[in-house]
């Protein structure tokens, strides 16, 4: 997965540069989490379902799906252009996408609905900023009530959103403690450490309670200019200088 990380980060950079833009910070923070879910050989993705709640992380999901063979890599540069199967926010029109999304806070509820009465694992990826939405907490209490042990919520905690740090916009307190109080099994991991992520995911597959994996990640991970800089939440027309800089950064991996 380490070598895959470099390859897919370069694909992600190319997608954002050649297509004219995309949600860069969160895509780079969450990519490793998606790689672990899709290529960590933990889940049978013909039966288990990956639900991306934060639909603006589309660029990261698309490079993962292209690598998995759902569509050719050449499609990536058509991202968010008219007529492309790769919409700006994810849509089930795209092969491999299980949930159309873009409005934050809904994916965990949808995942809970999929999980009820099913023996398959439902893996939902949400973000820390998304937890400002009340519906996420409605879903959290619901999943605990129905003992949805087959539900896994991975929270990408990159600590930034479009207007600044999440702490500045809306202090979150101790997210892990909140989930524990809601009756979930909680594991905190370094969201860029594949060993830690996969062992947390494996542990979550044997649980009687809904599972929350708090993944601490770096906003704009791997890119010197974008790291922890909320101005790179969504970039339009990345300059050639920054593109070359990003390539150098990623090739050092």
């Amino acid at each position: 997965m380490q070598s895959l990380r470099k390859e897919l980060r370069l694909d992600l950079l190319d997608l954002i540069y050649h297509s004219g833009g995309g949600h860069l910070g969160g895509s780079f923070s969450s990519l490793d989490l998606m790689i672990a879910v899709c290529f960590g050989e933990i889940f049978n993705l013909k039966l288990d379902k990956f639900i991306l709640s934060a639909g603006h992380l589309a660029p990261a999901l698309y490079v993962v799906l292209a690598h998995a063979g759902y569509f050719p890599k050449e499609y990536l540069s058509s991202y968010a252009s008219f007529g492309s199967i790769l919409q700006g926010h994810i849509s089930t029109e795209t092969p491999g996408v299980n949930y159309s999304s873009g409005l934050l806070g809904q994916g965990l509820s949808f995942s809970a609905g999929l999980a009820i009465g099913s023996s398959n694992h439902i893996i939902c990826l949400t973000t820390d900023g998304e937890h400002q939405e009340g519906q996420v907490w409605e879903a959290a209490q619901f999943a605990a009530k129905y003992h949805l042990g087959n539900l896994i919520n991975i929270v990408d905690v990159n600590r930034y959103q479009i207007g600044g740090s999440t702490d500045e916009i809306m202090p979150q307190g101790d997210l892990a403690a909140k989930y524990v109080r809601f009756g979930w099994t909680v594991t905190e991991v370094d969201g860029h450490n594949f060993g830690k992520i996969t062992s947390a995911l494996k542990k979550a597959t044997h649980s009687n309670y809904p599972n929350c994996i708090i993944a601490h990640t770096v906003f704009g991970s791997g890119l010197s200019f974008a790291k922890n800089n909320h101005k790179y939440h969504d970039v339009k027309n990345l300059s050639e200088d920054l593109y070359l800089c990003a390539q150098r950064d990623l090739n050092k991996l």
Binding site: L108, S109, F110, Q135
Partner: protein, 316 residues
């Protein structure tokens, strides 16, 4: 005009909904309820008791309930999402858009206590914007049964189809006018009374108040537009061409309801019609009996009668 049959005992749409769903669930194991904390008001106690595994109680959290319903539906279930119309499809509109409609989830949204008819509950609960909200949603069908009999027909029909839809129910019990032998067809209207002078269009119990009007000079053609989307444009236009006069009455805001749909139809079809529309005009409701509220908001039988006479006394 007088009712075509003797006075009957009043029956409840909500009870009809609960009873019908119970009977359907007995033979169709795909039927689920996701309830947002109001199941007693929708007569679902028996469903809850006898089909406990298929009764999901999400509490008074409509947004989550909607997402859960969509997820369940994507696993092949036929999901009835139950609440009052003022909560669902109102508080959860964005969830209906994304989780149900954009994901093509087979969810039937049941919104009870719609309109001024919910009476003493007052403005917050008198949902007068639901048709407007749901009509605009791509892929969502919208139905408003006339009475308890049609409620049964509509619930049975939609349970066998894959479409996401909204069904608007009223709180009070009312007389039944729908012919129990007649089936309900999506996209078809239902002729309550044939006439030649004026076409009266509406839905729900308010429309039945037209049947009790004592109008002898004019022959009223009364059409129940319970299938609000898709609307039976063909039947409506045919009637309008015949009568040349149209009155739409609805327990809903003037903006976004059936009246707007019909006036758009008239404008785009080019048919020459004198048109009037009785509905709530850009204001909220308040507490009171439905009868007093209809008087206050211009929807009483005498308002309807006055409107008919005004329209028909105009020179075409």
């Amino acid at each position: 005009m007088r009712p075509t049959r003797p006075k009957q005992t009043l029956t409840s749409m909500r009870q009809s909904f609960g009873d019908t769903l119970y009977q359907l669930a007995k033979v169709d194991p795909r039927i689920y309820v996701v309830d947002a904390g109001l199941y007693p008001s929708l007569f679902l106690e028996k469903f809850k008791q006898d089909f406990a595994k298929r009764f999901i109680e999400a509490g008074v959290a409509e947004s989550n309930a909607t997402g859960v319903a969509a997820g369940l539906a994507k696993n092949g279930k036929v999901v009835f999402l139950t609440s009052f119309a003022c909560f669902s499809p109102a508080l959860n509109w964005g969830v209906i858009k994304q989780s149900i409609c954009m994901n093509h989830a087979n969810v039937k949204i049941i919104g009870s206590h719609a309109g001024l008819a919910s009476g003493d509950l007052g403005a917050t609960h008198q949902m007068l914007e639901d048709i407007a909200l749901t009509r605009t949603m791509p892929g969502l069908h919208v139905f408003a049964p006339l009475d308890a009999v049609e409620t049964k027909k509509i619930v049975t029909t939609v349970s066998q189809s894959h479409l996401p839809c909204y069904i608007r129910l009223s709180r009070p019990s009312s007389e039944n006018y729908y012919d129990s032998k007649k089936s309900f067809t999506i996209g078809k209207s239902y002729l309550l009374h044939a006439g030649k002078d004026i076409t009266i269009l509406g839905y729900g119990p308010l429309l039945t108040s037209v049947l009790s009007l004592d109008i002898r000079n004019w022959k009223l053609e009364i059409i129940n537009c319970s299938s609000l989307k898709p609307l039976d444009e063909e039947t409506i236009l045919k009637s309008l061409k015949k009568t040349g006069h149209c009155l739409v009455i609805e327990d809903h805001q003037k903006i976004g309801g059936l009246g707007e749909a019909v006036s758009h139809l008239i404008a785009t079809s080019g048919v020459k019609v004198k048109f009037a529309h009785l509905a709530v005009d850009n204001s909220f409701g308040q507490s009171g009996t439905p009868e007093l509220l209809y008087q206050h908001y211009g929807l009483s039988p005498s308002d309807i009668e006055k409107s008919i006479n005004n329209l028909l006394s105009q020179k075409s």
